[in-house]
């Protein structure tokens, strides 16, 4: 009797083991198939996914304004229409008034390099710079060819951004259309999507979706406010340097704008913002023998950007950027490296993109953990 009992227990164990093994194998094969399918089809859907992600980002940024209008009694559809009419009118006005000046600024900056390179004054400037540096660090000398290469690639990148932006106009239009749909019907879409979740996980999914949306909006809004803050401070700082110290930096709006946008990238952004200001001031000042010999404007610029960063890191960012979004420098570098596959725009979007993924993952995992801990 004992033997037959043992035998049946063994039989049951073997059956359970076979069943578990079969399930694992099936799951493994399905995973491989899913990975192959993803690898094959991702190139086809990348554009669509990119557009949807951009529309989600835009929706998260715009929706507080639409919510505010709706709370004032305006119907959501009309609120969206009003928002876009006002925004397009403002953008139109800014372009009509500001674009010629901006193009002029870019033109001036771009013309600065070839004209100076041809008459040899850049070499003259670098020679003076090397002589100045040699007093302190004899080993650190700059090759003129290297500077020409770096600066020309920097400005060619600006040109690439402009042409890419123009050629991507149709994509932008599609993104705007998707954004309008998300803004007007987003809640209904989300409700329908969550409605498909089984009863057991419904409440948990709803909470995760809400928290993710909230975190995403806060993260993007924080990044935009911080970038705007750094941009405005940099513009003001550059103007102060021009007025008070006669630093002779042309294009403060463009440089300030670059500093603001670059600030989205942690650790590397602040340097990326300082560099154009130094380069422009170098090219602008080498005609002035006093300025060129002392290079006093470089410490001024560096100190100004350090002050901007101090204000941002101590007063603006702690208030507007979530602490949960802190990233390890190595993570930032890796993410930027991956983003560089899509050029400068990819590098810029890589960090906020990683932030979005981190927020979603963090919320999903903590939601599941809470649910498991509670249910046991």
């Amino acid at each position: 009797m004992q033997v037959s009992d043992d035998h049946s227990v063994n039989q049951k164990f073997i059956r359970a083991f076979h069943s578990a093994l079969f399930k694992t194998l099936v799951n493994f094969v399905l995973l491989i198939l899913a990975l192959i399918a993803a690898y094959k089809f991702i190139p086809f859907i990348t554009d669509a996914v990119f557009m949807i992600i951009m529309a989600v980002v835009l929706t998260a940024v715009i929706s507080p304004a639409i919510d505010w209008l709706e709370a004032k009694g305006v119907k959501r559809g009309i609120a969206v229409a009003l928002f876009f009419i006002v925004t397009f009118s403002l953008v139109g006005m800014v372009i009509a008034r500001g674009a010629p000046a901006l193009i002029d600024e870019i033109g001036k900056l771009k013309n600065l390099i070839p004209s100076t390179s041809t008459n040899g004054t850049v070499d003259q400037l670098i020679g003076k710079f090397n002589a100045w540096v040699a007093q302190y660090l004899p080993s650190l000398q700059i090759e003129p060819s290297m500077v020409a290469k770096v600066t020309s690639s920097f400005f060619s990148q600006i040109g690439t951004i402009v042409t890419t932006t123009l050629s991507a106009f149709s994509s932008f239009l599609f993104i705007l259309i998707i954004t309008v749909f998300f803004l007007v019907d987003g809640r209904r879409m989300m409700k329908a999507l969550i409605g498909m979740v089984p009863n057991q996980y419904f409440e948990m999914s709803l909470n995760i979706a809400y928290k993710t949306q909230e975190q995403l909006t806060n993260f993007l809004r924080g990044q935009l406010i911080a970038a705007g803050g750094v941009g405005i401070q940099s513009i003001l700082g550059l103007h102060i340097l021009n007025w008070v110290f006669d630093a002779n930096i042309s294009g403060p709006f463009l440089i300030g704008g670059i500093a603001g946008v670059a600030n989205i990238i942690p650790y590397i952004g602040p340097f990326a913002g300082t560099l154009p200001a130094i380069v422009v001031s170098l090219f602008n000042n080498f005609g002035d023998p006093v300025a060129a010999s002392h290079m006093y404007f470089i410490p001024h610029i560096v100190v100004m950007f350090i002050i901007v960063q101090l204000i941002d890191n101590n007063f603006i960012s702690p208030l507007v950027v979530s602490g949960a979004m802190e990233m390890h420098p190595l993570t930032v570098m890796l993410v930027i490296l991956i983003g560089s596959k899509w050029g400068v725009v990819g590098m810029l979007l890589a960090v906020p993109g990683w932030g979005i993924i981190k927020v979603i993952f963090h919320e999903i995992m903590s939601g599941i953990r809470q649910h498991r801990a509670a249910v046991g």
Partner: protein
């Protein structure tokens, strides 16, 4: 009475009212009977219904589990629901049965504390779920509706609190009485 005569007898305002009267859904009718939404107008109830989630539960299916984090309340549109709590032996004990128009879990809309009881469908049920994100969304986009709901929720909680206070003071009186009796018996 002929058909034309019957038409003649209907007043104009009644005819207009009938023409424009919208058929109310079952959920809408149920919602108008729930205390928390009783302060809302018909159009406001329709807006609340739009943000709510209709869920269907089969017999014996758990709706909420005791101890799980809660984030919303449930209103029964059809069917019966049993409310269970775990006793000292960790066995589920039926506390009450709820039916159409009843609601449960309203505290979770305001506070994400763990559920204090398990709710299970006693038959196939249709239930409306109203969750904290829905209330927060209403407060952002339709504050006049959100505030009315919050006020009604506060009323429910205030009533419960005063009932609990009464129970507590009654229990304290009884305890005092028992202690007095024990002291008297000892003497």
């Amino acid at each position: 009475m002929s058909k034309s005569e019957s038409k003649m007898t209907v007043p104009l305002y009644e005819s207009v009212r009938r023409r424009f009267r919208r058929n109310r859904s079952e959920a809408e009718i149920v919602l108008s009977t729930v205390h928390i939404f009783s302060k809302l107008s018909r159009s406001e109830i329709r807006q609340v219904e739009n943000v709510m989630h209709v869920r269907h539960y089969t017999m014996n299916e758990t709706i909420v589990k005791q101890g799980a984090p809660g984030s919303g309340m449930y209103i029964i549109v059809s069917g019966n629901v049993g409310i269970y709590i775990l006793n000292h032996d960790h066995e589920e004990q039926l506390v009450t049965e709820l039916e159409k128009g009843d609601f449960f879990g309203e505290i979770a809309v305001l506070n994400d504390a763990p559920r204090t009881a398990t709710a299970r469908a006693l038959e196939n049920c249709t239930i409306l779920g109203f969750y904290r994100p829905d209330l927060l969304g209403l407060l952002e986009t339709k504050p006049q509706i959100g505030i009315k709901i919050l006020l009604a929720l506060s009323e429910v909680l205030a009533t419960r609190l005063s009932m609990t206070n009464e129970e507590l003071s009654r229990a304290q009186r009884q305890l005092q009485k028992l202690e007095d009796e024990r002291r008297d018996a000892g003497e």
